[in-house]
Amino acid sequence: MQMDGKRMMHKRAIIDRIAGGLMWCLTVMCGLIVVLMALGLYAKSRPILAEKSVGELLFSSTWRPLRGDFGFFPFIIGSLWITGVAVVLAVPLSLLTAVYLSQYAHRKAKEFIKPLIDLLAGIPSIVYGVWGIVVIVPLIKDYLAPSVGRSSSGYSVLAAGIVLAIMVFPIIIHICLEVFDSVPHELKEASLSLGATRWQTVKHVVLRRALPGTIAAVVLGLSRAFGETMAVLMVAGNVAKVPSSVLDPAYPLPALIANNYGEMLSVPLYDSALLLSSLILLLVVLFFNIVSRVVLIRVERSIL
């Protein structure tokens, strides 16, 4: 009887060990996915990197895959323009909302509004794209562009920027709320007790203290905008030329990848070029993400 009990114990301990080992393996694998992705994409973009210089690929404006010209410049600039417009539109609105929700709003109002913002985050990007086509594109074509004396098809940097701004609202607001909550209460109370108004407290105490975290939130939003594909693809116009104003169409990197999947394999080096652009996208986004996550972790531990 006692032997049996001992064997049982032994068995359970062994299961515990084995499960622990397997779970450790899974955990390490999860951690390595990012590295694996970067290496896989790099291996696939080797062929084009071997034939062309990085400078030529990044800074040439000629995109003629059939003749073997792969210049990513218009696409990179297109992405930057759209992301820039999105950030300019999204930052003030989402910061003001985050400050309102964390410092001013009644608890009940906050409980009501937060799920709605989460809902905004849950809407698929294709639905944003449909909405952009139905509402934003005609708005720009019929009202905004004529009002500044320009003609535009509506499919433009501005349209993509507006749609993207709405898509990054929830990200920036969500992270900002966490960051603002990490500002110590005593600091706010000290400021208020010295006779500062609530806005002065926000301006001089909360925002100053939360600045690194806020910047990290904005950068995370920005990197989401930079990699967003479907919604942008549907409203940006997709003309492979460097845009000269926000009313011009643009052709951002992610849209380039998504649009050309069908013909990817028949043209020499084409697939390599597209995977190189995925790699560029991945590296840019990784860089932004790593930097802002490091900042956020330090904010959480309140080192900064």
């Binding site: 951690g31 996915i33 994409l41 709003a105 849950g122 449909v130 995925s278 996550r293």
Partner: protein
């Protein structure tokens, strides 16, 4: 003194205004999709497959895409859950406090969360080519599983972290191993959080287009094999909107409406579940 009050009022108004603007855009988006989608909705939309091809056929519905998306998202959620649950339990039960591996894994999951879905699509497609797989339901399931893995893992992690330390200690004191504690006590304690995480991930998986565009392909029939291409709702919307025929375009709007309704239902369901199940959780 007065200037400060004016400033205070001004910024308060500005904040309320921007909150209202953001909430109004949400209403505007849902409203627009409903207004454009509802007139084109009919029973055939959700009970029939497209007649005469999704691109040119004027008749039929998008049943193929609805079923395809449900298969795809369910498969992906199962794989992602099988991966993320052990990982999260390892991080919270097995790993020591302040473990470097745990910190690194959380960090890399956060970074993974930021990787654009088109990159997952391109990477997934490359791996599939390497393994000799063509665009298929299976390829899509694996790619989407990778895409939702960080979302699910971090969401589960948030809720598992909330399990009080003393409950773990009580379980150890009764002689349970870490494995038994993790898969019985901890899982039961954080069940509402786990279910919510699964639903959130499901919503993300069903709505993502960029990751399935290469990997899953498109077809007019209801998928019957893992190794065949499958239709998905987001791509059905995308292709139908790009079609030259007005009726097909209208069906695109109706499909967008169907997808939006699915997403709304999922998010309401997850809220209800977490509220209902939290009653049984020991604090």
């Amino acid at each position: 003194m007065d200037i400060r009050k004016v400033e205070e009022r001004f910024f308060e108004c500005l904040m309320v205004a921007s909150t209202v603007v953001i909430l109004l855009t949400l209403c505007l988006i849902v409203g627009t999709i409903a207004v454009r989608g509802l007139p084109a909705m009919n029973l055939a939309m959700i009970t029939q497959t497209p007649k005469g091809g999704f691109y040119l056929g004027k008749e039929g519905g998008i049943l193929n895409a609805i079923i395809g998306s449900l298969y795809l998202a369910s498969g992906a959620v199962v794989i992602a859950a099988l991966l993320s649950l052990p990982v999260v339990l390892y991080l919270n039960v097995y790993a020591k406090k302040r473990s470097r591996l745990a910190a690194l894994t959380r960090f890399s999951l956060d970074v993974l969360w930021g990787v654009p879905s088109i990159v997952y699509g391109a990477f997934g497609f490359t791996v599939m080519l390497l393994m000799g797989l063509r665009a298929s339901l299976l390829g899509g399931i694996i790619t989407v599983a990778l895409l939702i893995l960080p979302i699910m893992a971090r969401a589960i992690d948030e809720s598992v972290r909330m399990v009080p330390e003393h409950i773990l200690e009580a379980s150890y004191a009764l002689g349970a191993t870490r494995f038994e504690t993790a898969f019985t006590v901890v899982v039961r304690q954080s069940l509402p959080g786990i279910l919510t995480a699964i639903l959130i991930a499901f919503g993300r998986g069903i709505g993502d287009a960029a990751s399935v565009i290469f990997t899953t392909g498109f077809t007019d029939s209801i998928p019957y094999s893992l190794f065949r291409p499958a239709a998905t709702l987001p791509l059905a919307i995308f292709f139908q909107l790009g079609a030259p025929i007005a009726e097909v375009k209208e069906r695109g709007y109706a499909s967008a409406f169907v997808l939006t309704v699915i997403i709304l239902v999922i998010s309401i369901a997850s809220r209800l579940i977490s509220r209902k199940l939290t009653k049984h959780v020991v604090r």
